[in-house]
């Protein structure tokens, strides 16, 4: 277009002809292929921005989220990519820090020109990053568990299609806890958004199931010593509900053991308290007989999860959920399946939406994911079948309760998907793009 403006009176005949020729040439090309953009987009890789907690308090999760994502992308590329385009994972460390998280979303969008951003886990980072993704109109697929997506706190560009949220998890746990373990519960949780979801929704769910919360003990996620919190646990506690995150989780569980010496109340924990920690670490013997929630069982459960073994092999985990190359390098197995499943869901959704790397395609991509509902269990979705709610941008799925027996987590109970349902709190589809 600019070249047309350059043709003004006084210009030489030769240059005028050249300019006209150039315009004609462009027109001819664009009549066969609509624009250079598409021409580039069909051959260039699809760039998936990966916001990863390589450092900071989420580093152990980040390491395994990255390994899982790389394995999934390798699989997708070996199967022909997405609509013939190879997938490129562009990873950026956010230091598990909300402020840095927003900057990473921006960097992935503006500097790297990614097609979508995905992979964030820690809830405070998601809450810090999502508004920026919305402003940049960048589809943001989180793998976070927090209730912030389904609560309506975020925006239309943020979706959580492959990992369930805390509210649905605890709603499904409460009947088991009150029915099998005890009615009087004391809760210990990290003092930030994720922990507050546990505090609010589990206590509500317990009360609905005839239980009672005696005490709620909040611990800062950067805390390094825990014994001083335990005297606050009331003596008539029947069940101690614990969920902890951060680099000091092993210390937390050990000191819990030192405090009670394996006596005390029945323990029900979220595996977050022990993600990436070897169950056979010295000092954890007291956990034998206690129960854990797991998003996906760390230890192989035979044929109970039919697609588990193939996934386990692909991400490089042995039957104990540790790295095949180093048995001391334990994975974050209960969470990281979310990365694997999200990437395969993106492949499906991008194909359905005929994704072209432009803004209209991004809108189409979100609308396509919103239209999804049943996600059957498969090699792409090894954790189990799920039902996605397009209005709340949140997926629902089975939850697993495992029991520690001889230092191994064995499946004790699996909930149904229906156990995890709760009424919608938001309809993101009514928001404009």
């Amino acid at each position: 277009m600019k070249k047309v403006k350059l043709i003004k009176p006084g210009i030489s005949r030769r240059s005028a002809l050249k300019a006209v020729g150039a315009i004609g040439g462009t027109a001819m090309v664009s009549s066969t292929i609509p624009g250079w953009y598409l021409q580039a987009s069909t051959s260039e890789p699809i760039k998936i921005g990966f916001q990863v907690h390589r450092t900071g308090i989420g580093a152990a999760y980040g390491r395994w989220y990255e390994r899982t994502s790389i394995a999934a992308v390798e699989r997708i590329n070996s199967e022909g990519g997405i609509m013939g385009r190879q997938v490129e994972l562009v990873a950026e460390d956010d230091g598990t820090d909300p402020k840095r998280g927003a900057e990473v979303v921006e960097k992935l969008t503006v500097q790297h020109g990614c097609d979508v951003v995905f992979g964030t886990l820690f809830s405070h980072v998601v809450i810090g990053s999502s508004p920026r993704a919305g402003e940049l109109k960048m589809p943001y697929f989180v793998v976070s568990e927090g209730h912030h997506v389904a609560s309506g706190m975020l925006n239309r560009y943020t979706l959580q299609p492959c990992i369930t949220d805390v509210k649905s998890q605890v709603e499904a746990m409460a009947p088991f806890v009150s029915g099998n373990l005890g009615k009087k519960v004391t809760m210990i949780f990290p003092d930030f958004a994720f922990g507050h979801d546990h505090r609010d929704y589990f206590s509500a769910a317990m009360e609905k199931n005839g239980g009672q919360i005696l005490e709620k003990i909040a611990i800062p996620p950067t805390e390094t010593s825990f014994s001083k919190y335990f005297p606050k646990i009331p003596r008539d506690t029947e069940v101690l509900y614990h969920v902890m995150v951060g680099p000091a989780v092993l210390t937390f569980v050990k000191e819990l053991g030192e405090f009670f010496g394996g006596q005390g109340p029945t323990l029900f924990g979220f595996i977050d308290s022990l993600e990436a920690v070897d169950m056979t670490s010295p000092g954890l013997e007291f956990l034998d007989g206690s129960y854990f929630w797991e998003g996906m069982p760390r230890y192989s459960q035979g044929d109970t999860l039919p697609f588990d073994q193939a996934y386990r092999d692909a991400v490089g985990c042995d039957e104990n959920g540790a790295s095949v190359t180093d048995s001391r390098d334990v994975s974050t197995y209960a969470h990281m399946f979310g990365c694997w499943e999200t990437l395969f869901l993106l492949r499906e959704a991008m194909t359905m939406a005929d994704y072209k790397s432009d803004q209209a395609s991004r809108v189409r991509l979100i609308e396509t994911v919103e239209s999804m509902s049943e996600i059957p269990a498969s090699e792409e979705h090894p954790q189990g079948p799920k039902i996605f709610n397009g209005k709340t941008h949140q997926v629902f799925g089975q939850q697993y309760i495992t029991k520690v027996e001889n230092g191994r987590l064995n499946l004790a109970h699996a909930t149904s998907i229906e156990d995890t349902f709760y009424p919608d709190e938001v309809d993101y589809t009514s928001q404009s793009f």
């Binding site: 005297p231 000091a248 009670f260």
Partner: protein, 308 residues
Amino acid sequence: MEFGPYLIIALFEGALTSAVIALTAVGLSVVFGLMRVVNVAHGEFFMLGAVFTWFITWNLGLNPTVGFITALLLVPLAVGSLATLADRLILNRLDYDPERTIVATIGLLYLIQQSTLMSYGPDARPVEPPFNHRIALPWIELGESGWQIYWPWGFGITTYKLAVILAAIVLLWILLRLLARTKYGLLIRATQQDSEMALAFGIPVSRVYAIVFGIGGGLAALGAVLIVPIRQAHYLMGGEPLLLSFIVVIVGGLGSIPGTILAAILIGMSDGLISVFFSPTLAKIVATLLVVFVLIFRPNGLFGKNQQ
């Protein structure tokens, strides 16, 4: 109702905190007292102590006790040598100028922290304690139906934590004796009182500086070796001991070792008590407030000598 067991746990946790802060802060205090250098990288020497301990116990494949004892002997030496090297390469060349050394040690902080992140990685790694037994004492209380025994809600402590408290007491006593009764202590005290005069009397002041900076780093590392089987080695763990050491050193009086030890006990115990009875966040607030009041009413600290 449950005041008794609370109090015992609070005192015990407080004593543990005091012991570790005392060792770490004394290192900072010695360095400041002698060299007038505010070592912002002190917390990183602590962190290095923990990381090196992990390295020795994990990689040498020794049994926990042998590995730990090896670490206890080698790690403070290694970190102390690094600190001495830092003194020779950096602080000495800045002529120990107070402002420039602060900036230089901030640089050192990032250098150590980021090198650890790049080599050791971002994970928290555990070190197995050489011994660890739980001592659970029942708590007996007069209830509505006569005397009742509460167990395990009495209090549980571990032998290792007790050993850390004892070890810190012994080590501090040795340090005080060294400073007060030996020739080397005399050299250090002479340099501290008047470095020019000490030089005139033939004391190798620059060597004393290097050694003292090494001792400071080594003491931080020693605190870390003792605590790492309880907490874990992590590249960001230097922040809290640095903050607590500064609080303790300011409250106790910059450069005064007895003041530092007393302040460590004060801060550690109040941290334990306030954490257990109220909240750990309040404990940090109170400690920081204490610093403010000390700075307002006794600018040289509780035991600091008037320097003017």
